[in-house]
């Protein structure tokens, strides 16, 4: 199939599938946890930009081969969704596989990165954009797009349904792929799925509880797992190098408390957005953080909310940072109860229910090693963010030591935020 998008910018697109090399036992299923189901309308999109050497001389078959081998260890992402009798979605591990897309770009990688600096939305052409639905049983949850640039560089675009796991799980998958390419065996057990257990239909005594602050009930979306926004969302990213970062941290710190880069950046952006939104300033924000201890697959982030009792616009960013550090209320149990209430059938969003700040500083995005080459740049965003927007704090390229910030906001707020950050905080 030869088709093209964006006026021929990306062309020669070919679709196929890659599944596990060995047969998964029949009747293996994976039941997503309540936390997983809360995230089902969100999709992670990661783009790894590699230089010429990483993929030089490799045919498509040679690129697919290690994928066949690594997918033996990930039977869950090769499966497809079904609904149980109660309506709760589960994954049947039927070896269907991930979608594999090959494409070419008519620009060199440097030209492309220049273009995306001004117009970040172009990056959506480097990742597959298929959602889960309208047929659950025939929608892949993970899609990979390998785009070859004119200069020989290659971008690996991953579309990862958040219901499978958080950014740490997604990064783990590709890092294991890198290991297999290097000839090592992944250090994971092969079969993590299990035979279907009789799902206990817990009649809920919690029907009277309100939904937690950190999520927003939407829909029902049925079998079309996507967020419907009232305004168009736009993504833009900027990097903060190590010097700027330390500058910022010292500027904000008060009473000797030190703030992490995430807390500093989030506090600053919170105030800027409050300034932009004026009357409807975000008094409540959601914070998502990875849990160091939990290395399992799935959604293991710590989701908490922070409530400000005073107007944000006049507040000291240092105070906001203190709030984020100390006054965050763990919402996980409340979220799980909300999902359990109707056995996972209802639809929720987490990112964008309130203005969300996600701490992905520890995500091992730059550890994806392909034939000895690490990515020169990694771009990360979330699709399906609600109207309140989300800000992701990501690790920067290892050489710079700073951070990359990706903000997904309603499009009319983007320019104002950019100018605010530039003038007030000298960040862009």
């Amino acid at each position: 199939m030869v088709s093209s998008m964006a006026e021929g910018l990306i062309y020669d697109i070919k679709l196929s599938s890659v599944g596990p090399g060995t047969v998964t036992e029949p009747d293996m299923v994976h039941e997503p946890s309540d936390m997983d189901l809360a995230m089902k309308l969100h999709y992670l999109k990661v783009i790894y930009y590699f230089g010429k050497q990483a993929f030089e001389g490799l045919t498509t078959l040679k690129i697919k081969e290690p994928l066949f081998m690594v997918l033996n260890y990930f039977p869950v992402i090769c499966g497809r969704f079904r609904r149980a009798e109660s309506g709760r979605p589960y994954i049947k591990c039927n070896d269907c596989g991930v979608r594999f897309i090959e494409a070419k770009c008519e620009k060199t990688m440097d030209e492309w990165l220049e273009m995306t600096k001004e117009n970040a939305s172009l990056e959506k052409y480097l990742t597959p954009n298929q959602i889960i639905g309208p047929e659950l049983g025939f929608s892949p949850t993970v899609l990979l797009q390998y785009t070859k640039f004119k200069c020989g560089g290659m971008s690996v675009g991953l579309s990862w349904a958040h219901v499978l796991g958080d950014a740490f799980s997604a990064a783990e998958f590709l890092n294991q792929l890198g290991k297999v390419v290097a000839g090592e065996k992944p250090n994971r057990p092969i079969n993590l799925a299990h035979l279907k257990t009789k799902s206990t239909n817990s009649g809920s005594p919690l029907t009277n509880m309100e939904d937690p602050l950190s999520v927003k009930r939407v829909g029902p979306v049925g079998d079309n797992w996507m967020t419907v926004n009232n305004c168009k969302m736009e993504a833009f990213s900027f990097s903060v190098n190590a010097t700027q970062l330390s500058h910022l941290q010292s500027k904000i710190s008060s009473n000797g408390t030190d703030f992490s880069p995430f807390e500093a950046l989030s506090a600053v952006i919170w105030q800027c957005i409050a300034k932009i939104r004026r009357e409807s300033e975000p008094k409540v924000v959601t914070i998502c953080k990875g849990m160091e201890q939990n290395k399992a697959d799935g959604n293991n982030q710590l989701i908490s909310v922070v409530k400000a009792a005073y107007p944000i616009v006049e507040a000291n960013p240092g105070d906001l940072a203190v709030l984020m550090k100390n006054a965050a209320l763990d919402q996980r149990e409340k979220i799980e109860n909300a999902i359990e209430k109707d056995n996972g059938v209802s639809d929720f969003i987490v990112y964008g229910a309130n203005l969300t700040f996600t701490n992905l500083e520890e995500a091992k995005l730059y550890e994806f090693d392909y034939r000895g080459e690490k990515p020169s740049y990694v771009s990360y965003r979330v699709d399906g963010v609600g109207d309140e927007g989300a800000v992701l704090v990501l690790p920067g390229p290892p050489k710079n030591g700073g951070r990359t910030v990706m903000a997904i906001l309603p499009e009319n707020e983007v320019t104002e935020l950019k100018s605010e950050l530039k003038t007030e905080w000298f960040m862009i």
Partner: protein
């Protein structure tokens, strides 16, 4: 109680009667010879040595007579040995094992189908029903070009698949037999649906630098039974050329023949045909008598093309949208049954023991003269063969043959398991089945094997082999990593 006992007694009696009858008829010559020999011996003993010498002297042999008779005997013996057809030995064979990157699970096949045939949900449902009942497993393989949505069957991709399958099979055969390319005298390649120029046999000659005076042949268009046609051709050539090796390559190239339309009768091959190939080394050299695995005993070919319905039952044509595919008619099974009957009528007298042939003759005469309502006697082929390799054309074919020949589940196990693991690999499926029997360690010296294949035309071809030496369980081959999982139970319908 008394009801059951007579039944049991009668069935036991019948069994022994049958056994006794078979033993008697099959060894009838021995039964006649023994009394005669005993009689002569008794007579000699009675006469005594002097009487014997007297009888001998009274015969008046003179020199000329003796010379003439011995000359006659030698002459007849020479003519007999010279006109005896050469023994054809199967030295070794190798089957192609597709890489894991070509694997197509059911779910992937159905998902791709849904995407390609977006506008024809009925056709997609039809494919799903076929796949559920097909008897295929989750490890069958399709070539890389067919993995794309939609498939990209270019000539280059087809050649690529041909090279991968054929060279891999031949390479592994050469490694097993230690034969040099220059030793090959005859080359026959059969591939029904892909016939490029230069031919696939020329491709093999080019790759392995075979001799310039090689006798090479390329058979195309002859369907799934072409493998046995190639063996028949090799046999005839080896009669004419003494002291030669013949390399036979049987395969089917899937890439250019994947049907891209939505006609139901033409979607069937897409669901069943899979990648596969085999390379076989035949020889008529005396020294291979020791190391050869099998000896070719008979090849029987039956062609029903004279009948219009048989001719058209597997027909390649364009669908209303102009897409080319193979149309399988609804009376395929009936025609296959007819072709089989024809074939076994010819092969029966060649292989069946005398007891079965006599029974068949009696029932035939009985039906013609006494009562046409008598059930036709189906000879028991299990007495003629230890192993059966039925072309894994589809579950229906194997079921039909199992019923017609009254075979047990173990006899058709090789066919069913080959269909499960490799799908319908067309002409090479017989070799995968043989490989299964060997991998299970069931092949002993003296075992007789019957290979039956059906093909478009409509043809039914059989080959009979005799095992030359007990085959040790091979440590390589396509079954090596999965034989321990087999036999598997194949459900009637697999829930997708």
């Amino acid at each position: 109680m008394p009801q059951i006992l007579p039944n049991f007694l009668s069935s036991v009696k019948l069994k022994y009667v049958k056994l006794g009858y078979q033993y008697l008829v099959n060894h009838i010559l021995t039964f006649f010879l023994i009394p005669i020999m005993v009689g002569i011996l008794v007579e000699i003993l009675r006469l005594g040595p002097e009487e014997m010498l007297n009888i001998w002297r009274s015969l008046h042999f003179d020199l000329v007579q003796v010379l003439c008779s011995s000359f006659l005997i030698i002459f007849i013996a020479t003519v007999y040995f010279m006109s005896k057809p050469r023994s054809i030995y199967l030295v070794e064979y190798a089957c192609y094992k597709p890489p894991i990157t070509c694997r197509v699970p059911f779910s992937t096949f159905m998902e791709h189908s849904r995407l390609i045939l977006k506008e024809n949900p009925k056709s997609v449902d039809f494919q799903m029903r076929i796949l559920e009942r097909s008897g295929l497993g989750e490890e069958t393989c399709l070539p890389p070009a067919i993995h794309y949505i939609p498939p990209t069957p270019t000539m280059e991709a087809a050649r690529g698949e041909a090279e991968q399958v054929i060279f891999s099979a031949i390479g592994s055969l050469m490694e097993k037999t230690k034969i040099k390319p220059k030793d090959i005298d005859i080359l026959i390649v059969n591939c029904s649906l892909f016939s490029p120029t230069p031919s696939l046999s020329a491709m093999v000659v080019n790759k392995y630098k075979l001799r310039s005076n090689i006798k090479s042949y390329n058979l195309s268009g002859m369907g799934c039974s072409a493998g046995l046609i190639s063996i028949d051709l090799a046999r005839d050539l080896l009669q004419v050329h003494p002291n030669s090796y013949a390399l036979v390559v049987s395969t089917e190239i899937i890439t250019p023949n994947y049907y891209q339309g939505s006609e139901r009768a033409m979607l069937l091959p897409n669901c069943l045909f899979r990648m596969g190939g085999a390379a076989i080394l035949l020889s008529n050299k005396r020294r291979d008598r020791r190391r050869a695995k099998y000896r070719l005993v008979h090849v029987v070919r039956t062609h029903k093309g004279a009948d219009d319905k048989a001719y058209k039952c597997v027909y390649e044509q364009e669908d209303p949208q102009g897409k080319v595919g193979i149309n399988l008619s609804k009376d395929l099974m009936v025609i296959a049954g007819e072709a089989l009957k024809s074939n076994i009528t010819t092969i029966g007298p060649l292989v069946l023991p005398a007891s079965e042939q006599l029974l068949f003759l009696f029932t035939l005469i009985g039906r013609k003269i006494f009562n046409p309502k008598w059930k036709p006697y189906i000879p028991d082929f299990k007495q003629a063969f230890e192993h059966f390799c039925i072309h894994a054309g589809g579950r229906a074919v194997i079921d039909e043959l199992q019923k017609n020949l009254q075979l047990s589940a173990e006899h058709v196990e090789a066919s069913r398991m080959t269909l499960h693991r490799f799908g319908n690999t067309s002409s090479s499926s017989l070799w995968y089945e043989l490989g299964y029997i060997e991998a299970k360690g069931r092949m002993k010296k003296g075992d007789r094997i019957w290979q039956i294949a059906f093909g478009s035309g409509f043809k039914c071809n059989s080959a009979v082999w005799k095992c030359n030496r007990t085959v040790r369980t091979p440590t390589d081959g396509p079954w090596q990593d999965c034989i321990d999982r087999y036999p598997v139970h194949i459900p009637e319908i697999v829930k997708l």
